[in-house]
Symmetry: C2
């Protein structure tokens, strides 16, 4: 059975080679496959189903805040991309260019959207006229293209799936409030649904989005101690509005520029789930996002009544609202366990002849491997409870990991030592000068991840790099 | 109030100029806007919400048949596109070419997918090894690009949204069964959800999909008597499998080629909804697909208690599972009625001071404008019933329109006269020779729409064009 083999043969241990472990998991859990298109991946059913659940829940939360979905063209004419100076400088080096349509060269070449600020601005310039047209809170689900040189499944690929929200407001205050509202929504989503704790913060000038006045970010910590930027929310002020002429007449009949925001999350989140929760047996999915929450596995299924009873249990679980499947294939129970573990399914229910006789089954947690016996008639209620417990425990465990991987440093030597020997975030003061930021990156490869939003006690009163007075507390780290 | 004006000013009558009526409706009902990207449109919230409902219901029906969603790259390297001869001939003249990535020319240019058979085949060639891997029933929701010269919103644009299903099977029989299963699914969806009757049929050799062995289609009739191809399902036999080397070992350990299908539906369906159901007041949406099913409109809303009571009614309807909104803007009731009609919202509930006194409200159907008075406490139940009635009546009306626009002809003179003077489908016999098909198209602009799947009595025993013996009954017509 070549296919079973492929799935369950041992993967590289994460302690031995974390990068190889990651690659093994995405392949063996059948999340993706490589394609003939360099730098692009095929997202397979097991991977796409996770994305569908992310979409469904994020979309629901967006709409609760008044966001409406739209769809913009995938092409950006070169002249449109060039309208906002910082933005074009940021993106032009990494876009794909369409030069021919059918058999003819285009009069003006177009890039495939790397992000759609310019298209939304072009649209808003016509669509917004009066204060009565505001605010506009639009979002789209689509794919975007950035011509990366080095790619890794989910984390960095030439094409990826995302949502991009683009809003326009009458006042600067309202735009700032929306920017932060969406950052909070992202953070809550990561913590409540993906069981992934995040640091909420603001990017430095150097790290902010091309064309933004302020970029806010949520940063998560992967198992190997590297940071992953998991969602960003940008306040553009009226910069794009001025470049694109997006004006409205206010209540006093005066022309005003709108204030804009944008915010996005991507399939990168699937990479984050893998690297926060996974282990040496493969993927571990938080119940809230798992496409299959429980796998029922009959033992000695050829024996009389076993399959029927397993099917009954499956139905009871389904009726309790659980996403449940049964593996009644011809493979051995051992294979099935390994597959269920590799795929990260939160619970498996084992049911064999002895269990049946005793009127019970065994619930096995994927995250801790803990086993619980349970009367058959209580299986559904027990599984519902256990899924909640797993969700909570996974968050707590990830939170503990994150908190135990923050190193506070006061001197540059301590900083360099921490980058070298203490995986995780480094908390250190910074004077605000980009030269220090550049020097730190050059010396250590660590970058400024964010300045935390919540008030935190200063580590010292001088810059960890240059020693000048410093008031900014920064989380630093190596990052994906 | 410039914006109200824009929305409700009179649109062109469909009797005067159907094409202009269509354009007016898509713009005034705020379904789309034109963009700076030639041939591409912006799908606005009211339009995209219809697409979301189409997606949700189609996706549910797909999954019930065992289909799983995936995502393939949007790029096709030129060499991959060229692997199947008929396919590349069909699509190469109308694709957009990417020639540069970032600042560098690509070693091999790539087109943006016009459809993804080649990508799925390339994937299946690696992914399918054994009979145990079959069938594969994959689908993706994405956008595709075809470099059309003349474009119209929803009906023909350079980029459009769709779903494309791609399946691989062990046997020819299973592939044929899947092809027809999906055609039936499409037809049922159109009739049950979009209230749009369709003719199920098979395309002629000339009209079939590039690379297919057989193409099945559903054809709907628009209000102006032109046909619209609304969904297609293709059986590829083993043609693509041979071109791409997609083989599996069967139970006897012999290498076999797989048999494949593909099937798709697009945002074109929104154009069909408009042209089947719309009238001179704008859009008319079938309740099943309408993003807002009921609009509650308070009359003299400044008067004591009216807004509260209207809000109560809205809540009662929402609790009954109806998608309901209330228009409590400062516009006059007349404006609000016109807007609700333009947007095609199936029912409006009017509630004024006299109604409130009498403890009742008025339900007004969008499709017939019929008014019913109804005690407030019965409003929700009445609306639920009325939505069902509207859905049924809209289908019956469209069905009657379609049936009354079929002309049976025996001679070529009758054929030409029918094309000229009798809008709708023409039923006529055909010998099977592509030259007759070409001549008919050249002489009359009518094309063969399909050979109906359900057995129908022959119109005569000779070809309507050349007079030779003929056994094939064909629906002909002008088409979008």
């Amino acid at each position: 059975m070549a296919k079973d083999k492929k799935l369950v043969e041992a993967i590289t241990s994460m302690e031995v080679d974390f990068a190889q472990w990651y690659t093994d998991v995405v392949k063996k859990a059948e999340l993706i496959d490589y394609s003939s298109v360099k730098g692009c991946m095929v997202i397979k059913p097991a991977g796409y189903a996770i994305w569908e659940n992310i979409q469904k829940e994020l979309d629901r939360r967006f709409k609760e805040t008044g966001v409406e979905n739209v769809y913009m063209p995938m092409f950006i004419p070169e002249s449109l991309l060039q309208k906002e100076k910082d933005h074009v400088e940021g993106f032009a080096p990494e876009v794909a260019w369409v030069t021919h349509g059918g058999l003819n060269p285009l009069q003006e070449r177009m890039c495939i959207r790397p992000t759609s600020e310019t298209l939304f601005c072009d649209f808003y310039a016509n669509d917004i006229q009066s204060y009565r047209d505001l605010p506009k809170c639009y979002n789209q689900w689509c794919s975007v293209v950035r011509w990366e040189k080095e790619t890794r499944p989910f984390l960095r690929s030439r094409e990826f799936l995302w949502q991009e929200g683009h809003t326009a407001h009458a006042t600067a205050e309202e735009a700032e409030e929306r920017t932060l509202q969406m950052l909070r929504l992202y953070a809550d989503f990561c913590e409540e649904v993906l069981a992934m704790p995040v640091i909420r913060g603001r990017k430095t000038e150097k790290e902010k989005f091309a064309g933004a006045e302020a970029t806010y970010t949520i940063e998560a910590l992967m198992h190997d101690g590297k940071a992953l930027q998991s969602g960003t929310s940008h306040n553009f002020g009226d910069g794009f509005a001025k470049a694109f002429g997006i004006q409205y007449t206010d209540k006093d009949n005066k022309l005003q520029y709108v204030h804009q925001t944008s915010w996005g999350m991507t399939t990168r989140l699937i990479g984050a789930i893998i690297m926060v929760h996974g282990d040496d047996s493969g993927l571990v999915l938080p119940p809230e996002i798992a496409p299959v929450q429980v796998m029922v596995i009959p033992i000695q299924q050829h024996k009389d009544g076993i399959l029927n009873k397993a099917c009954e249990v499956k139905e009871l679980l389904a009726q309790a609202g659980i996403r449940v499947k049964m593996d009644d294939s011809e493979k051995s129970p051992g294979w099935k366990f390994s597959e269920q573990e590799m795929r990260g399914i939160p619970i498996r229910v084992e049911l064999g002849p002895k269990d049946m006789e005793a009127g019970k089954c065994v619930l096995v947690r994927r995250d801790t491997r803990e086993k619980t016996e349970c009367p058959l008639e209580e299986a559904a209620a027990a599984a519902v409870e256990l899924l909640k417990t797993i969700q909570k425990d996974m968050f707590e465990r990830a939170k503990k990991h994150q908190e135990s991987h923050v190193t506070e440093v006061k001197s540059y030597d301590e900083f360099k030592d921490a980058v070298e020997h203490k995986p995780g975030f480094i908390r250190a003061m910074w004077c605000g000068d980009v030269e220090c930021e550049n020097k730190i990156k050059e010396d250590t490869t660590a970058t400024s991840r964010c300045m935390p939003l919540e008030a935190q006690k200063a580590v010292s009163d001088v810059c960890v790099c240059c020693g000048k007075p410093a008031h900014k507390l920064v989380y630093w780290g190596k990052a994906y």
